[in-house]
Amino acid sequence: MKESNPSLIRPSDKSFFPYIFTAFFVLAFVDSWRRADIDPVVFFEKKGQEALWKFLTGMFPPDVSWNFISLMLRPALETIQISLWGTLIAVAIGFPLGLLGTHTLAVRGILNDAELQGAPVRRGMRYGLYFLARGLLSLFRSIPEFVWALMFVRAVGLGPFPGVLAIGVAYGGMLGKVYSEIFEAVNYRPLEALQSVGANKLQIFFYGWFPQALPNFVSYTLYRWECAVRASAILGLVGAGGLGQQIEISMRMFNFNEVLTILIILFMMVAAVDYISAKIRAML
């Protein structure tokens, strides 16, 4: 941040930007306030306060009867299972697409410069693949996992499986993008050294490229797994298994003490997964 302080007084900042920005901001604020039906008074009216009171008193004490908890055990495990396979499928989608979408691996850089010199057709084909992979990744990650889940519920039916596929596709897009960034950031010295001793492309990749990328690679994948646990816990809201379905049922039946129990289970699960993934990351 210390470096950025001098830049605050660079001449280009004496532009109209602050004024334009402020005008835009105020406009967006006023329009959004109206459009989003914002009405804070609700909480001070009788109706809102009654609902709030009903909700808060309904939550306590949480339902900790064995009957209910044993019923929640299976969805809770299911949530973990969905997140695990969702992440695996995401890796299976993100890794190859991420490789193809890495500029220095697919089109330029020391692996390809010699080969593609003076071969415009091949270069064009490579660029085609590269842009295809990038486009697919961006498509996968721009559609939210909930929309994927809805579509997969249509395609393969209710249950945890559409949840797995939804997480796999949406997170595949995110992983692929980050993987390609990791691959792009490797140090090129070892690669050149390998090339100069006559290693072929695969050897360069496995002995020079991959080992450098691996720690970041694993660490980011674990981070995504943590996110996947949270996501799969609520994908059930659209019928894709896990705890979400139970939350919605309890909410709709106004059994707020059950909601609290499920939230506590969710909290413990997320904490456990965060702990495990932190342990694995510490081993790297």
Partner: protein, 294 residues
């Protein structure tokens, strides 16, 4: 090191700590077997049917579904509805993020150790004392509030707020604001806890009060990062706002839910395209603003 001290111990080569490669040990194999069993258990638990999915029959079904999506429905009525949903989604994410910033800023100063009870600002106070203990109370309270806000997912908050204030975009704003408030509170707290101590010290040495130190020594340091994190969360929120409608909280999600439930695949594709454009536009806008700030 447990090696006995020799005359010139610098010459002894320290034993490598772990990390010696000598082929898989029994422990490695057991861990591997455990992981594999875990995966298989998950495979059946999550009712995954990859072979079935990749069979000709269901692949054919997916192809049919994709074909049904095309062409997207660009009739004026649908376009108008998509535009309305897009603007509403933008409004929800915008107001939600603003609310989150307000919540985070009103809590975070109590939730960072170096501002509330320890570190440079308080080093002149006696170490043990009721005052110091009393300062911990707001700290712990603020931390746990942030934790609760953060742990409950946006969608669950949305369900709760739909119950509290009724259907529409307003519960979406509240859900985003409350959850993101928790997340931003944590991120802001981390920024506050590793501010550069030197400006603070020099301010202190000129006799500035704590409030002055906060305003002139700490806030200028953290503000760019605060803004940058807020913009980042806005990018996340625009994606969430697009689906909050699935639980009745307005925006594009509501229209998507309707389109899917009524088998209006062509309209669905239009709405998905709208999400894509909105998300990409907000990403660029936020990246541009972030470059301006940092």
């Amino acid at each position: 090191m447990s090696t006995p001290p020799t005359r010139n111990s610098c010459e002894t080569i320290p034993a490598p700590r772990g990390r010696v490669r000598e082929g898989p040990t029994v422990k490695n194999l057991l861990v591997l077997a455990g992981v594999l069993m875990f995966l298989v258990w998950s495979y059946y638990g999550a009712e995954i049917h990859l072979s079935q999915l990749l069979s000709r029959n269901s692949l054919g079904q997916i192809v049919i579904y994709i074909k049904k999506l095309f062409p997207p429905d660009f009739s004026p009525a649908v376009l108008q509805e998509a535009l309305k949903g897009t603007i509403e989604t933008f409004a929800i994410s915008f107001m939600g993020t603003l609310m989150a910033v307000v919540i985070a800023l009103s809590i975070v100063f109590f939730a960072s150790k170096n501002l509330i009870y320890s570190g440079l600002l308080y080093e002149l106070e006696p170490r043990q004392g009721w005052k110091r203990a009393a300062r911990r109370v707001p700290y712990l309270a603020a931390k746990s509030v942030l934790n609760i806000l953060r742990t409950i997912p946006e969608m669950v908050w949305a369900l709760i707020f739909v119950f509290l204030v009724g259907l529409g975009p307003f519960p979406g704003v509240l859900a985003l604001g409350v959850h993101t408030g928790g997340v931003l509170g944590k991120l802001f707290g981390e920024v506050l806890e590793d501010v550069d101590a030197q400006p603070i010290e020099s301010l202190q040495s000129t006799g500035a009060s704590r409030l002055q130190i906060l305003c002139y020594g700490i806030l200028p340091q953290v503000l760019p990062q605060f803004i940058s994190y807020s913009l980042y969360r806005w990018e996340v929120n625009i994606r969430v706002a697009a689906v909050l409608g699935l639980v009745g909280a307005g925006g594009l999600g509501q229209r998507i839910h309707i389109a899917i439930s009524l088998f209006l695949e062509n309209q669905l594709l239009t709405l998905i395209l709208a999400i894509y454009i909105l998300v990409t536009a907000v990403d660029y806008l936020s990246a541009y603003l972030r470059r301006k700030v940092m």
